[in-house]
């Protein structure tokens, strides 16, 4: 009886993409997909994009304008990249998926640009955060809790109540595990060196490398686990 009902439940889920948790929804691989991941999930998860797959390029263009009215913060260049991705890979005639992942060596990651694309929507361009909603990164002691901690946050997100600089937050940061190892290292190194954060840097703390992130990535964790990890590190 129990097995039967389980099977029924499973069958119901197979009918659609519902079975996929929002954090695991993947969009087709293509240039600038990361921008879509970084920008769109501030307000809604990717299922809206998935359900809209196949609409016309004009419709995507209109949606981007609508989303700007709803609070999407992007400059024209970023908008053009996102539009290119959406209208191509989620448009009516998407290209076939690439046969093999590209193996060309990536240029050195630019932490400042990556921060602007992936993090500034919530944490703000100068890392100042938004009161009550998104914690600041400028002056935030968490970023030096230990060498690896911010990597866990970026990889897996962070969920649960936190207090930062005497202010409370209870939001849900999504995982950014789709970023490359070198990109994550570059973002965190940039944040640690910006907005006066350098003054808080412990003397023996060196910059993160892609190899560091690769190592940390081998520990599977949830956003909840990261919250607990933080509780042990931050007073």
């Amino acid at each position: 009886m129990r097995l039967a009902s389980l099977c029924l439940t499973a069958a119901a889920f197979v009918l659609s993409v519902l079975a996929v948790p929002a954090s695991a929804i993947e969009l087709p691989d293509g240039p600038n997909r990361d921008l879509v991941y970084g920008k769109c999930r501030t307000c809604h998860d990717l299922q809206y994009l998935k359900e809209s797959e196949g609409i016309s390029a004009r419709a995507w263009n209109d949606i981007l304008d609508s989303m700007k009215a709803r609070g999407l913060r992007i400059d024209d260049a970023t908008r053009a990249k996102i539009y290119e991705y959406l209208s191509t890979y989620l448009g009516p005639n998407p290209p076939p998926p690439p046969a093999a992942p590209a193996t060309a060596t990536a240029p050195a990651a630019d932490g400042k640009a990556l921060f602007a694309d992936n993090c500034s929507a919530c944490h703000q361009p100068e890392g100042q955060g938004v009161a009550g909603q998104f914690p600041p990164l400028a002056g935030n002691p968490d970023i030096f809790a230990n060498k690896d901690f911010p990597v866990y946050v970026v990889l897996h997100g962070l969920q649960g109540p936190v207090s930062v600089l005497n202010a409370s937050y209870d939001g849900q940061m999504p995982p950014f595990d789709y970023l490359e190892d070198g990109e994550i290292a570059a973002i965190i190194n940039f944040v640690r060196a910006s907005w006066g954060n350098d003054a808080n840097r412990p003397g023996d703390l060196t910059d993160l490398t892609a190899a560091d992130v690769h190592r940390i990535r081998q520990n599977p964790m949830t956003a909840d686990d990261v919250h607990q990890l933080r509780a042990g590190l931050v007073k």
């Binding site: 609409i55 609508s66 913060r73």
Partner: protein
């Protein structure tokens, strides 16, 4: 206005604290969510108190649709299966409404302001002491049926089928009498009433959600400041503690978590009033009219329900057999006149029979109907088409009202069944 905003922000913070003090119960859904991050997400984990198996359109926003196999089981759609559509994430300070429990905010206040001589602040307790009336009304997402427009050209957004609706008993204080009692001294310059709720956009640049009604709109004569849904305090996920219910109007016009009513010369500039949730005043095509071509002159907000019928049985899930079959479903409109006819076909429109219609509980409730049909081995198409006393009918092909945001689908319902 600025003092009102300050009050509002302060109130928001207080709620945040209260939600925190209320403890683990409110925080639980979030923790359950991440703990099972690798498993299938289901509606019960996204909004606590919901049944499993609702159709999820957006987890972060708690947007979910009711499968018809559940919807058809109840005369009044219960809170654990009723569709849900919020516009902003159920996170942080807003996590309190990710539950079907009723919120407990004894200090909840509704501000009445704008072009009035005497702005008022009305406490929830005062509202609860006023005479109340019931309204049984279909509540339906304006995007219900959006998926069907794809037969012409797919429209972006949640791909709702027919389950973004429910038949609900609301109870609350009649709006007109309430406003009269406040002795507001409304200016003759006021033309619109704007309702705003507690919810706020995810980013400071985002448009707030607000809805405006013409002050003379006759639908407001039936509107209530609802405090109860199906006999209980309104669940947080459905707009408690106070929801403006305008019977016969699409879901978005029934503002949740009501915090303010403003008398204005113009309608709200909110994107949700001026651009989204509007219908063009004339038929449009994907080539002629885009999602941002709406103006206040060429379009109207998604106010009154278009006449609609939905087939509840048989569905493919029922595995019906060949032979005679009873076809059942519901029909409803904006309450302006009764549903007088539902024509039903079980052979794709070659032949039609007149359904037997049950009396409805109220002008805005759904009417149950049933008709006899015949299923043959192979593929069958069932169709239902409703007409009301004002002579308004569903179009046989709903694509005639294709629109770039995919609202107000009301084509004759088509159900394909393979026997």
């Amino acid at each position: 206005m600025s003092s009102e905003r300050n009050t509002f922000n302060l109130t928001r913070r207080q709620f945040g604290k209260m939600a925190g003090a209320a403890g683990a119960a409110l925080a639980m859904p979030g923790f359950v969510r991440s703990g099972l991050a690798q498993d299938a997400m289901n509606s019960a984990q996204i909004i606590s108190g919901k049944k499993s198996g609702l159709i999820i359109h957006n987890e972060k926003l708690g947007v979910m649709e009711t499968p018809l196999t559940l919807l058809r089981q109840y005369a009044h759609t219960p809170k654990d299966i009723l569709f849900c559509r919020f516009h902003f994430p159920h996170e942080g300070e807003a996590a309190w409404y990710a539950t079907t429990d009723a919120p407990s905010f004894p200090d909840w206040t509704i501000t009445i302001d704008g072009l009035v001589n005497r702005p008022r602040q009305v406490k929830l307790a005062d509202l609860q002491a006023m005479p109340m009336e019931k309204r049984v009304s279909v509540i339906q997402c304006a995007g219900n049926g959006r998926a069907f427009y794809a037969a012409k050209e797919k429209v972006g957004g949640g791909q709702w089928h027919n389950g973004g609706m429910g038949n609900v008993e609301w109870e609350g204080v009649p709006l007109r009498a309430f406003l009269d009692d406040q002795k507001l001294g409304v200016s003759g310059a006021a033309m619109w009433l704007t309702a705003n709720g507690w919810d706020q956009p995810a980013t400071p640049e985002g448009s707030d959600f607000a809805k405006s009604y013409r002050l003379g709109d006759k639908a407001l004569d039936n509107a209530i400041l609802a405090l109860k849904m199906n006999g209980e305090p309104i669940p947080a996920a459905h707009g408690g503690p106070v929801r403006l219910i305008v019977p016969g109007y699409y879901g978005n016009m029934n503002v949740k978590q009501l915090t303010s009513l403003l008398f204005m010369a113009d309608q709200s500039p909110s994107d949700f009033q001026s651009m989204a949730y509007r219908m063009p005043n004339f038929p449009v095509t994907p080539e002629s009219f885009g999602a941002n071509d709406y103006t206040l002159d060429n379009s109207e907000p998604t106010y009154a329900h278009k006449i609609k019928s939905v087939i509840f049985s048989p569905l493919q899930d029922d595995s019906p057999k060949a032979g005679p079959v009873e076809i059942t479903g519901v029909a409803f409109n904006d309450g302006e006149g009764p549903i007088t006819s539902v024509k039903v076909s079980s052979d794709g429109g070659n032949s039609w029979v007149e359904a037997e219609i049950e009396a409805a509980e109220s002008p805005w409730a759904w009417y149950h109907w049933k008709a006899k049909g015949e299923l043959k081995a192979g593929s069958n198409t069932l169709i239902s088409l409703a007409t009301d006393a004002l002579g308004r009918s569903q179009p046989l092909d709903g694509l005639v009202w294709w629109n770039p945001r995919g609202y107000e689908w009301n084509g004759a319902d088509h159900v394909d069944i393979t026997v």
